[in-house]
Structure formats: structure tokens, C-alpha cells
């Protein structure tokens, strides 16, 4: 399956990745060959194989509804490039 440069740009944009023209070309080619391989796998008859969401055969891992202490706010904000009055400070999000 041929992946176009536009598709690469679209996906890169969604993932906030900034690619050079060379990288885009390389990605288009690499992704195409991965999808080709998937197409080959699709040739297998999987009629009786249940879809796999997880590769480990574990289910129902729960915790009880018990509150434990959270982090002190200094810790919470420690990695924030900018903060104000206990909030994370981010570029303005325009809502309308």
C-alpha cells in the first residue's frame, strides 16, 4: 500500500512531529513497507481466531477504592516550564 507524503504530513501533524522533507519521504516509504507486510498477514485465514486486544492472558486487574495521599503541589508543578498561583500556565486556548 502506497502511503503518500500528505498522509505522512497529516499523521505527523496529529502527533505534533516536525519532519524535514527527507524525513517525510523516508517515513512514506517505511510506512508503506510496514503496511505491505500487514497485507501479507491479511492473507492468512483467521476465521476461528478471536481478535487480540492484548498479548498477555491476564484479565480483571483491579484495585480497591481506597484514597492514598497525593503528591505535594511543589512536586506536581516541578516539571512545569511555567506556573502561576498553583496552576500550570499554558499558551492561551481560544474557545470561541
Amino acid at each position: 500500500m502506497k502511503i503518500s507524503i500528505e498522509t505522512v504530513e497529516h499523521v505527523a501533524n496529529l502527533a505534533r512531529l516536525y519532519l524535514s522533507e527527507e524525513e517525510k519521504a523516508e517515513m512514506a516509504q517505511t510506512l508503506s513497507s510496514i503496511l505491505d507486510y500487514m497485507d501479507r498477514l491479511n492473507e492468512l485465514d483467521t476465521t476461528d481466531v478471536p481478535p487480540t486486544a492484548h498479548i498477555v492472558p491476564i484479565k480483571n486487574v483491579f484495585r480497591e477504592d481506597v484514597v492514598k495521599e497525593s503528591l505535594p503541589r511543589e512536586e506536581v508543578l516541578k516539571n512545569a516550564p511555567e506556573k502561576e498561583r498553583g496552576f500550570f500556565k499554558v499558551p492561551r486556548i481560544i474557545e470561541d
Binding site: F62, R63, D65, V66, V67, L77, E84, F88, V90
Partner: protein, 475 residues
């Protein structure tokens, strides 16, 4: 051309667990900014979310109360998008295998039951809160709500009027409050609603282009925005125009919807299974156990009130619309012989005062026993029904026992015949015109005279007795 409106609702409800859905931070509302956070809900690299069992159970209970099917197998997926209120840049949600499917809510339209289908219910995590202060070039983020368990309830496009949407929401809220999985407070964001609406020529089975509505802060806003949008779309279609598929924002102050600047590619979420969370397998025993824990639901309660207590459908509907109110009523009825009398007092006096003062049932300062005591005082003739209303209001203001109020204010009904006779004579003397009228056969005049005696006694006279005495005196 005649058009038919098609409405669908997506409702998000925060679950009442003590801790968040994938970590042990508290879900308590209104803490100091960014103090209910840990490495898991902050989305730090290398952390592992672990599912809160209670959140799953609450979601299943909600699904059962909404008549859904619970598949055996369910899993979590990542919904990928960038937004500052979402520290991981993905929301843990459920895509193709939600916890529940195919349910319904029954509402009443023009006195007839109508089922509104529920397409699916899934479990997910809430995002944080963004604050945009006016005139600032930046936004502020509080991540306390990040990771609070949410269920999303998606209706089928079965709703045909804004009124039905409003009824559906009220019923949904009542049911969820009954089963105590959410407090459904829109003002605190624990219930949120997005809607979509389209119009199509009546009789057509194809859907028209739909518009999504956001920023709906109350059930009233949901109804008003749908009414506005229904009108707007009809006008466009009647003039031969086309509806643009878009998201619009409700402007409460102006009472209109306006287009939200569309974020390009906003709906390309690239869902995939969350490798950090293993699937949930819900065996039937677990479902049965949760089902057995459900309380009597509003519809069943309403039916029982009609059958067991002989109440009219209207009374039964009002009394069961809130669990707190139904509980109060039932407490009274368990101690008093006549449910209809209790219902009358609760529906007119009690709800009247609550509406007037904007208070909730759980803020009533007296107990059901105290209302029952008051009813018994009316039955025994200690107070008249009219005085009882005064006593009742006092109970609301002070929380005092009715006996204490009656004693303090000297409101005991006068049933002493001699005393009443004296007052009746005085009234007769002072109102010769009415006496004459009565003797001429005007029954109304007697009512006036009774009223005068009541006035003289400041409402404390036993009205039946006054009636009898006056009739005797006037021959």
C-alpha cells in the same frame, strides 16, 4: 414542507467513587488547585494505571438501571489528542467494546410512555480544568479532576422534541441519583451534556445533516438551545438552504447558538487498545450480584405508590421524582394511616416552601416523625388545618416540634363550646345585616359569620363547632 426533528444526547457523569479511576488520588470536589495529583494521573512516563473496581461496579449498576446489556468482554482504548487539560495527550476510554450496550429510558410524552434508546455506556477518565482569565495571553490548568471516573451515556437518535430531551435528562438524573452512583450536579460538572440535532422531511428515514451543541450549563439550557437550533435549521431549510455540519456553542446570555471555530482534524483520535490495562471479563454472577444490590427504581416506586397507597399518577410521579423526597414520604406513611393526606402536605405545603426558599429535601430541618405528629394534632382537633399551615411553616424555620410551637404561640384550637358561643353572640350582634341575609335564606352569609368568629379567635376556633353553634343561635 413539514420537518421532523431528530435529537441525540451524550451525557457524561462523574461516578461517586472515593478515589480516581486509575490511581489512588481523592476525587473530592473543590480541593486546593493541583493537590489531588500523583505520577499516574499526571501522566508521568513509566507509571502504570490500575483500574478501580468500584468504578466498574458503579458503571455496571448504572447500565443495569438503564436496562442495558452487559457484554462479557470489555477493554480500554486510548483516545489520542492534544489539549492542555489532558496531560498524557490521550484519554483512557473505551472504543469498540464498551461496558454496556442497548438500553433505554422510559419517559412520558402526552401521557403515554415512550422509550428512548441508549446506544452504549462506556467508562473513561475525566480531564482537568482550564481557566481562561479575561485579557490574559495564557490559560491556567488545574489537574485535580484529571482521572476522576466518568461514564458516557450515548442515546439513540430517538428524541423528537427539545421537551423530550429535557424529560430524558431529568429521568436519567433521577435514576442515577436513586442508585447513588453519581450526584449529577451540573453546577459542579458532575453531569455534562452535549447534544446533536438535525431536521429531515417528515416521513423520511434518512438523517439530515446534524449540528452538535456544546456549553450547556443546565437542563434548561439544553432545552432552550435545542429550541433555538430547531428554529434556525428549519428557517434555513425552508429557504432552500443547506445545513453545515459543525459544532455550535450555546450563548446563554444572548439565547443563541454560534459556530465554534472548528479545530481541523479534531475527530481523528486514532484509538488503539491501551496496553497498560488488561481486559475486563464480567461473569454473569457478578452482574446478578450487582443487580440484586439495586434499590427500587423510580418507575417501580411510582407504580407501587399508585397500587399500594392508592395515589393518583400525578402525585406518585412527583413524589418519586427525587429519592430524598420519596424517602421522606415513605417515612411518614410508615407512621401514619392515610398516605393521601401525607401526599397532600408534602406536595403542596412542603414542596411549596422548598421551591420558595430554593432549599433541597435534605435541608429540611425537621424529621418525618414531626410532620406525622402535626397531622395527628389535626386529627385530634388540637389544631385546625389552617393553623397547621402556620405551624408547618414554623417547623421549617425553626425545626421545632409541632407541640412546642403550638404551646409557645398559644395556637391550640378552641373547642370550648361556651367560649365559642360567647364570641358567636358578639359576632351576631355586630353583623345584623348578615344575620338578616341568612334568615332570608342566603347560605353564604353563614360563611361570612363563621369567618368573623375565626377572625376574632385568630383562626383558633374549631370551624365545625362554630358552624354548629351559629346555626343553633340563629335558629
Amino acid at each position: 414542507m413539514e420537518f421532523e426533528t431528530v435529537i441525540g444526547l451524550e451525557v457524561h457523569v462523574e461516578l461517586l467513587t472515593k478515589s480516581k479511576v486509575f490511581c489512588s488520588c481523592t476525587t473530592e470536589f473543590g480541593g486546593e488547585v493541583n493537590t489531588h495529583c500523583c505520577p499516574v494521573c499526571l501522566g508521568m512516563p513509566g507509571v502504570l494505571p490500575v483500574l478501580n473496581k468500584k468504578a466498574v461496579e458503579y458503571a455496571i449498576k448504572a447500565a443495569l438501571a438503564l436496562n442495558c446489556e452487559i457484554p462479557e468482554f470489555s477493554k480500554f482504548d486510548r483516545k489520542n489528542y492534544f489539549y492542555p487539560d489532558l496531560p498524557k495527550a490521550y484519554q483512557i476510554s473505551q472504543y469498540d467494546l464498551p461496558l454496556a450496550r442497548k438500553g433505554y429510558i422510559e419517559i412520558e410524552v402526552d401521557g403515554k410512555p415512550k422509550r428512548i434508546g441508549i446506544n452504549r455506556i462506556h467508562l473513561e477518565e475525566d480531564a482537568g480544568k482550564l481557566i481562561h482569565e479575561e485579557g490574559k495571553s495564557y490559560s491556567l490548568v488545574d489537574l485535580n479532576r484529571t482521572g476522576v471516573p466518568l461514564i458516557e451515556i450515548v442515546s439513540e437518535p430517538d428524541i423528537r422534541t427539545p421537551e423530550e430531551a429535557w424529560l430524558y435528562l431529568n429521568k436519567l438524573k433521577t435514576i442515577l441519583q436513586y442508585i447513588e452512583v453519581s450526584d449529577c450536579k451540573m453546577e459542579e460538572g458532575s453531569l455534562r451534556c452535549d447534544t446533536n440535532i438535525s431536521l429531515r422531511p417528515k416521513g423520511s428515514d434518512k438523517f439530515g445533516t446534524k449540528v452538535e451543541l456544546k456549553n450547556l450549563g443546565s437542563f434548561r439550557a439544553v432545552r432552550r438551545s435545542l429550541e433555538y437550533e430547531e428554529r434556525r435549521q428549519r428557517e434555513i431549510l425552508e429557504q432552500g438552504g443547506v445545513i453545515v455540519q459543525e459544532t455550535r456553542r450555546w450563548d446563554e446570555a444572548r439565547g443563541i447558538t454560534i459556530p465554534l471555530r472548528s479545530k481541523e482534524e479534531a475527530h481523528d483520535y486514532r484509538y488503539f487498545p491501551d496496553p497498560d490495562l488488561v481486559p475486563i471479563v464480567i461473569d454473569r454472577e457478578w452482574v446478578e450480584k450487582l443487580k440484586s444490590e439495586l434499590p427500587e427504581l423510580p418507575d417501580a416506586k411510582k407504580k407501587r405508590y399508585m397500587e399500594e397507597y392508592g395515589l393518583p399518577a400525578y402525585d406518585a410521579g412527583v413524589l418519586t421524582a427525587s429519592k430524598a423526597l420519596a424517602n421522606f414520604f415513605e417515612e411518614c406513611v410508615s407512621q401514619y394511616h392515610d398516605p393521601k393526606t401525607v401526599s397532600n402536605w408534602v406536595m403542596s405545603e412542603m414542596l411549596g416552601i422548598l421551591n420558595e426558599t430554593g432549599r433541597e429535601v435534605d435541608e429540611i430541618p425537621f424529621k418525618p416523625e414531626q410532620l406525622v405528629k402535626m397531622l395527628k394534632m389535626i386529627d385530634s382537633g388540637t389544631i385546625s388545618g389552617k393553623i397547621a399551615k402556620e405551624v408547618f411553616r414554623d417547623m421549617f424555620d425553626t425545626g421545632k416540634d409541632p407541640e412546642a410551637i403550638v404551646k409557645e404561640k398559644g395556637l391550640t384550637q378552641i373547642s370550648d363550646e361556651k367560649e365559642l358561643e360567647k364570641i358567636a353572640k358578639k359576632v351576631i350582634e355586630e353583623n345584623p345585616k348578615s344575620v338578616e341575609d341568612y334568615k332570608k335564606g342566603k347560605e353564604k352569609a353563614l360563611g361570612f359569620l363563621v369567618g368573623q368568629v375565626m377572625k376574632e379567635t385568630r383562626g383558633k376556633a374549631n370551624p365545625q363547632l362554630v358552624n354548629k353553634i351559629l346555626k343553633e343561635l340563629l335558629g
